[in-house]
């Protein structure tokens, strides 16, 4: 009996250990744009709002109304919604139920929920790139009048770009922006300063700096580290990085020029041409200076490596800047506009030509910068078929989340996955200092975002019907096959062009072209 008990006990212990360890200690397989960082916990949100709310008597405006919101299980993005919900509930008497799922699942779950009439969600906090698939069939509530008459939201404080790209489709407002997303390159200020180097202006500079620091001990732990860390996992963020690298080679004549398709005939610019070959080769080259398993890393991995001092360079959304406080990378992290190129694609011939005043009218010192407004930023939309009371409550909660006082704090916290998108978030720097960033780091970080936002040649992410298939299906698969050497550059470009043309034909070429051209006419 005793021996049997010992056997069972000895077996149960490893089960418990394995069960406890396995699911939580590694990044999600379907890692989303904002993913797990390994930075230590940033300072908490100021307790002002919560304590004020707690002190006040409970509101009754939405008493008995239960709002179901579908969003991403980050844990970012869901975190601020879940953390702020009790405060809002105290204010209004309503209740918020946040249903968080993997990034790859939000789109189909939301679209099937709305299209089949299930309507189990009152609101979605999702990728505004998908709006084309939701607004056409009328699944989203038109918020145009609401946002313009909502003092809590302060609509005009949201930057013109985010009011348009994140929120507006065909002239109507459908979402409330909660986040602003741009790609930037992050570098180790201490290393570059020590060696008298400037941040990379071109992708050739990027590779040169990455090569220089690759294999050196960058954090003093006696282990060799990496020159560059860019997440390359399939089914994660790889396809966004290749767009950033290719952007400066594909678009030179301003935002309306477009970087994905030729605006005259909808021919994919990501097809067979010298620009794509150059971009693919550069992307693959960055892996030579990265960790050996970079092909299986999402942003959770690359952020963890950068904030622990193991990488000299990385490319990311605004999250690295807010994850750095409290980590090895604190006060050693610099942000700069995504590097550009001194060449650009001649769309007529498919060849690369040198930048000059004609070919690259927006170039600075001969470098054509084309910073990428990747993803746009998490935004909240409301189900057009939800009961009126739920729509009102859902709108009020999203408006509360985006309100200047609340969002000013949330965008400074790395754990939220939200980055600045309001004018006041660039002008009022106190919340950034409160979050642990130094004055210099704050100025550098916000400056890099601002220079991207104000760039006349900023590349807009794709935002037409079936965007998810263009990017997350065809582009992601082809790029990952290229990185795995399953396809060569020419094969990859052909695979992208064939896949995109098939989707365009399926949806209707004229319709897609009109949608693409319309998406480029964004307000700045």
């Amino acid at each position: 009996m005793v021996s049997r008990f010992r056997s069972i006990a000895a077996a149960i212990v490893p089960i418990l250990v394995l069960t406890a360890c396995s699911p939580t200690a590694s990044p999600s397989a379907s890692s989303p744009p904002a993913s797990t960082g390994t930075a230590s916990t940033p300072p908490s949100a100021p307790a002002a709002s919560a304590s004020q709310v707690a002190a006040a008597s409970p509101g009754t405006k939405f008493k008995g109304v239960n709002v179901n919101i579908l969003t991403f299980n980050g844990p970012q993005v869901a975190e601020p919604l879940q953390r702020r919900a009790p405060d809002w509930e105290q204010l209004t008497g309503g209740h918020v139920n946040v249903v968080a799922v993997g990034f790859q699942t939000i789109y189909d779950k939301a679209l099937l929920d709305a299209s089949t009439g299930t309507n189990s969600f009152d609101a979605y906090v999702f990728d505004p790139q998908w709006m084309g698939d939701f607004t056409g069939p009328g699944y989203l509530l038109d918020l145009t009048d609401r946002v313009k008459n909502d003092p809590q939201l302060d609509w005009n404080d949201i930057s013109a770009f985010h009011r348009d790209f994140n929120a507006t489709y065909n002239g109507k407002v459908y979402t409330i922006p909660l986040d602003g997303d741009f790609h930037m390159v992050y570098y180790r200020t201490d290393l570059l300063a020590k060696d008298g180097l400037k941040p990379p202006a071109t992708w050739d500079d990027y590779l040169a700096i990455a090569q220089k620091y690759n294999g050196q001990d960058l954090n003093g732990d006696g282990q060799p580290d990496y020159g560059s860390c860019i997440a390359k996992k399939k089914g994660a963020q790889s396809y966004w990085w290749i767009i950033s690298i290719a952007a400066g080679l594909l678009q030179a004549k301003g935002t309306n020029d477009g970087a994905f398709f030729d605006t005259s005939n909808m021919n994919p610019l990501f097809g067979p041409n010298e620009a794509m070959t150059k971009a693919l080769e550069t992307y693959a080259k960055t892996a030579e200076f990265g960790p050996p398993d970079e092909l299986n890393q999402d942003v959770g991995g690359s952020r963890g490596l950068f904030t622990t001092g193991r990488c000299a360079l990385t490319m990311d959304w605004g999250d690295i800047g807010t994850l750095a406080p409290g980590t090895f990378a604190q006060d050693k992290t610099g942000a700069t506009i995504t590097p550009g190129w001194k060449q650009v694609l001649d769309r007529a011939t498919g060849k690369l030509v040198a930048c000059d005043a004609t070919t690259c009218p927006n170039a600075v010192d001969g470098v054509n910068y084309a910073p990428f407004a990747s993803f746009g930023g998490w935004s909240g939309a409301i189900n057009a078929k939800s009961p009126k009371a739920n729509q009102d409550a859902a709108y009020d909660f999203l408006s509360y989340m985006s309100s200047p006082a609340i969002s000013a704090v949330d965008v400074t916290l790395g754990r939220t996955g939200f980055n600045p998108y309001r004018t006041s978030q660039f002008t009022n720097k106190q919340p950034w200092l409160d979050a642990g960033l130094s004055q210099a780091a704050t100025d550098n970080y916000l400056g890099a975002i601002k220079s991207t936002l104000e760039n006349k040649n900023m590349v807009l992410d794709l935002r037409i019907p079936l965007t998810k298939r263009y990017e997350q299906d065809v582009l992601d698969t082809a790029v990952s096959q290229y990185l795995a050497k399953e396809l060569d550059a020419a094969g990859t470009e052909q695979a992208i062009a064939d896949g995109w043309n098939a989707i365009t034909d399926e949806a209707g070429k004229d319709k897609q072209l009109a949608a693409y051209v319309a998406s480029l006419g964004v307000q700045r």
Binding site: S3, R4, R6, S7, I8, A10, A11, P14, I15, L18, T19, C21, S22, P23, A25, S26, A29, S30, Q104, T105, Y107, D108, L111, L112, S115, T116, G117, D133, G136, P137, G138, K233, K234, G235, A236, P291, P292, D293, L295, N296, G301, G304, K468, R469, Q472, D473, T477, S480, Q481, Y482, L483, A484, K485, E486, L487, A495, D498, G499, A502, E506
Partner: protein, 397 residues
């Protein structure tokens, strides 16, 4: 109305029964009713039809509906969604069109080894068919079926060889799935049988090991996926010191397609070997040891006893285990998805994972088409396997 009344009136009058007769009739009627309920007809209505209806609703209807789905494309419109019929376009795309390189793989002219395999397969298939024809024991219909089976086998080998034994060829989701299934079963059965043989002996701590060996089976496949994700992470994972000590600091599982597939197979083997182990252990423990001991006394070696006594005795159990793992193995998705996201490239993308990815982009038609092709593949492989082993088991019996 009147005629009706008159016909009643015209009916012959039965004699009025006495009180005791009425009681007897009532008792007979009750017994008769009970008998009717006990009859096959009543049992059919009571027990079979509800089950049939339940199966129809839960199984057959979705099966038919998914056929329709695989022949259509999803179209969203104002206030709803439509399924637009597009014929066999989804299947065409997978087998001959844009998705062929993902589904079947990149097929190139075989190299020398490839040609040798094709020629050898063709020769063996032809020889087997001729032998069947000459034996006179096989009917004409049987010969035709064997000819079709032989051609299918040859076609399958031709595709496999073009993907795996050619210059520039690459396996797609279908072939990758087959690799996972057959390599996985081979490792799982070999290890499971070895562990069962070990623990059937009177070794110390055998009860403890029995339980420990079962642990992987109790963990959810997603949990196993994450665990292997950590363990194969050579730069940050818990086994990093071991990798470094072995001089494998820059070694990675994820850049080479075959290493990545091996990692998936190892994870799958770790999880499912316990299942094979526990069933085989039960089979081995139920064997009559006297036969084996008699053989040993008669001078048979241990290997001979295993080969000619133990192995045939557990063959029926083996058949069942392999069939279960075969059917289950074709549905592999957790390990390649969590461990590698189907990558590097599409190196570990199984058919189920490809269907899942299509589902996520709401390409429901193509997702259903892949699921149907998987169903056909599993059915063919399972049928051929069952037919093959049934003959062997019958011969041994």
């Amino acid at each position: 109305m009147a005629s009706s009344d008159s016909s009643i009136d015209a009916a012959p009058q039965e004699p009025v029964p006495s009180g005791s007769a009425l009681r007897v009739r009532a008792a007979r009627q009750a017994t008769g009713t009970l008998g009717a309920w006990r009859s096959d007809g009543a049992a059919r209505w009571l027990f079979i039809w509800p089950a049939v209806l339940l199966i129809l609703v839960l199984s057959i209807f979705p099966l038919v509906a998914s056929v329709a789905l695989s022949l259509s494309r999803l179209a969203f419109h104002q206030g709803g969604v439509d399924l637009k019929l597009i014929g066999f376009a989804n299947y065409q795309q997978l087998l001959f069109g844009l998705e062929r390189s993902h589904f079947l793989g990149v097929l190139r002219t075989p190299n020398l080894i490839g040609w040798a395999i094709v020629i050898a397969t063709a020769a063996l298939t032809a020889a087997a068919w001729i032998r069947s024809a000459r034996s006179g024991r096989v009917r004409p219909m049987g010969l035709i079926l064997r000819l079709i089976g032989g051609l299918l086998l040859l076609g399958s080998v031709w595709i496999l060889v073009q993907a795996l034994a050619s210059d520039g060829g690459r396996p797609g989701a279908l072939i990758v799935t087959l690799i996972f299934v057959f390599a996985g079963i081979l490792f799982q059965y070999t290890l499971g049988l070895g562990l069962a043989m070990l623990l059937v002996q009177q070794i110390p701590w055998r009860r403890f090991f029995r339980i420990v060996f079962l642990v992987p089976l109790t963990i959810t496949p997603v949990g196993v996926g994450y665990m292997f994700l950590m363990m194969t992470d050579t730069s940050k994972g818990p086994l990093e010191p071991i990798w470094v000590a072995l001089g494998l600091r820059n070694f990675t599982w994820v850049t080479d397609p075959w290493l990545a597939r091996l990692a998936v197979i190892i994870g799958d083997t770790w999880q499912w070997t316990p299942f094979v182990f526990i069933v085989l252990l039960a089979a081995l423990e139920s064997l009559d040891q006297e036969v084996r001991e008699a053989a040993l006394v008669d001078g048979a070696g241990r290997w001979q006893a295993f080969r000619h006594i133990t192995l045939p005795a557990i063959l029926p159990v083996t058949t069942t285990i392999v069939l279960i793992r075969l059917i289950e193995g074709f549905k592999i998705i957790d390990m390649p998805n969590i461990l590698l996201g189907g990558g590097p490239g599409t190196a570990t993308q199984s058919m189920t994972l490809q269907a899942y990815i299509d589902w996520n982009t709401l390409n429901l038609g193509r997702s259903a088409a892949i699921a149907y092709l998987l169903l056909i593949l599993v059915s063919v492989v399972a049928t051929v396997y069952v037919g093959f082993v049934r003959r062997r088991v019958t011969e041994l019996a």
